[in-house]
Symmetry: C2
Subunit: 315 residues, 2 copies
């Protein structure tokens, strides 16, 4: 894996406070070409997350990027949202102006498939919400895993506790069937799970540094994160927040930040009473042989370098 001149990216997201920071991270990098953004239900309804995606691309200086509305519900189960984490408007109840643009006519899955076909072997996909749109795209185009260069997923909890259940992480448990379809499909896949995101946090000191950065982008983002940090204070006992989605963006755009990962085929438990939505990997010293393509589960990153890059993105 090496850092590249230009990276063409499709971002599937449900903004979402940390989704906002992930978009900021990519939007600030001249070498990253965001070819399209898909919105999905998750942190809020897809109607809200699509509008937020438009608002955020305008805030972060990429108003030309097409935004497509995606799935409004999971493949099988009933939807659940996360307003207690991200606020009633999905962005920490911080008011942003209504977007000037509007979503394109294609669905998120159709846009992803079209972009993958137009850029065979060249498109990287960052999926930081429930995996419903990506699963639907595989349904439309079974060769998607071969057409796409690389898929980076924020989701799951492989060797650590979950966040919405003892073993369930929000993005995966919000559509376990879709996630299983994606893990089964054979992508070149980096998994940025709670294993790394819960130990890669924006500290109080970092949040204070952000407050000193002038300009609208930093100011608004700081306001989003104040809301988020308040939620995480209830978990960590400290004013700090897990940077789930921006870390996944960093793994996509700056793969040199990854210092450790293990490779394992990952499956999603679909039927467990206590474990539905769990990301299951065989971590025995001698795991059974497995036909499923292994993904890379990130376990260590250069945290300081990541936090600096995230701050740079908001200057």
């Amino acid at each position: 894996m090496s850092d590249r001149e230009t990276t063409r990216v499709f971002v599937d997201c449900d903004p979402g406070i940390d989704d906002a920071v992930a978009l900021a991270y990519l939007a600030a990098r001249p070498e990253v070409e965001i070819l399209g953004v898909g919105a999905v239900f998750g942190n809020n309804t897809v109607a809200v997350t699509a509008q937020n995606a438009l608002r955020l691309l305008e805030l972060y200086g990429r108003p030309e990027v097409p935004v497509a509305v995606g799935a409004e519900r999971p493949l099988v189960q009933a939807p659940r949202l996360a307003e207690h984490v991200h606020g009633g408007n999905g962005l920490g109840d911080v008011e942003l102006p209504d977007p000037k643009g509007e979503p394109v006519a294609e669905s998120a899955a159709e846009l992803l498939v079209r972009l993958a076909r137009e850029n065979p072997g060249e498109l990287d996909v960052l999926a930081v919400g429930p995996l419903t749109n990506v699963a639907l795209a595989i349904g439309l185009e079974p060769r998607l895993p071969q057409l796409v260069r690389r898929l980076v997923v924020m989701g799951g909890a492989v060797e650590v506790a979950g966040n919405v259940g003892s073993h369930a992480e929000a993005n995966i448990v919000n559509d376990p069937e879709a996630a299983e379809a994606v893990f089964a499909a054979g992508f070149d896949l980096d998994l940025v799970a709670l294993d790394i995101t819960m130990k890669t946090v924006a500290t109080a000191e970092w949040l204070d540094r952000l407050k000193e950065v002038p300009g609208d982008r930093a100011e608004r983002t700081s306001a989003f994160l104040d809301f988020y940090a308040e939620f995480y204070k209830g978990i960590f006992g400290l004013r700090q927040c897990a940077m789930h989605d921006p870390l996944a963006a960093a793994v996509l755009a700056d793969p040199h930040l990854v210092t450790e990962a293990f490779e394992a085929p990952v499956r999603v438990e679909l039927t467990g009473t206590l474990t539905r939505g769990m990301t299951v990997a065989d971590r025995r010293p001698r795991p059974r042989t497995d036909e499923r393509r292994a993904c890379r589960v990130v376990t260590s990153v250069s945290e300081d370098a990541f936090l600096d890059l995230m701050l740079d993105a908001l200057r």
Copy 2:
């Protein structure tokens, strides 16, 4: 928790090589009164494990201890055995003389219930096989968790990989329904899971020290362990073996050896396609409130002291 003058113990087991060493560990201690032994299917059929229990009590100098035959199969599922781990005779294919004694007429569950009633608040139970006999005993006497002082279970894999599946440990997965009944019953319960047993190993150096110990007990036990170490060589890549059951015996008889544990209610996943038999604990920083009585999951022990005591037991 403090070490006590005399400990009255019921041992439920499926000998089994490490079961043998657990019996040796307890039999060697004058302050430990073994009131009874229950045999259960597991490492071999219950017919074989009961005969082995008699043989081992005779070898280790406790021929007077009553041995009761217990369950020949799990509560619900079909049985599976582990001859590849423990040999065709359950004791590493090492020949021992036929036992002089024979099993008592009571079943293991009946013997456990009678001993608990006769020694209210005084009986400690060590369960190092599938939990079928203990679950049946709860069915016969629902007050068993209150009658028994303490239950030490070898089983499960809470925050680490399993040994017969990616998340399944043999004793629990051999009867998940029984295990769930036992975890739900409200015992004062120490769980000695793979979390601690896979990192508390008899090293090649320890196995060599054992070879120097004179006498029939040490010689036979060394022969059992040679078979076991050969199996574990395929897992660890080294000649060493996990000391699952003797470590549980040590936690019962020498609680001062435990240097770290966490408390958590534990449940057994019964319906998962990938996770059936998994011991599930909520390890989030703020776990949900839970009515189930927490058990202590051992995570650290004084390893050198334990290995010394285990060697002393075989002198």
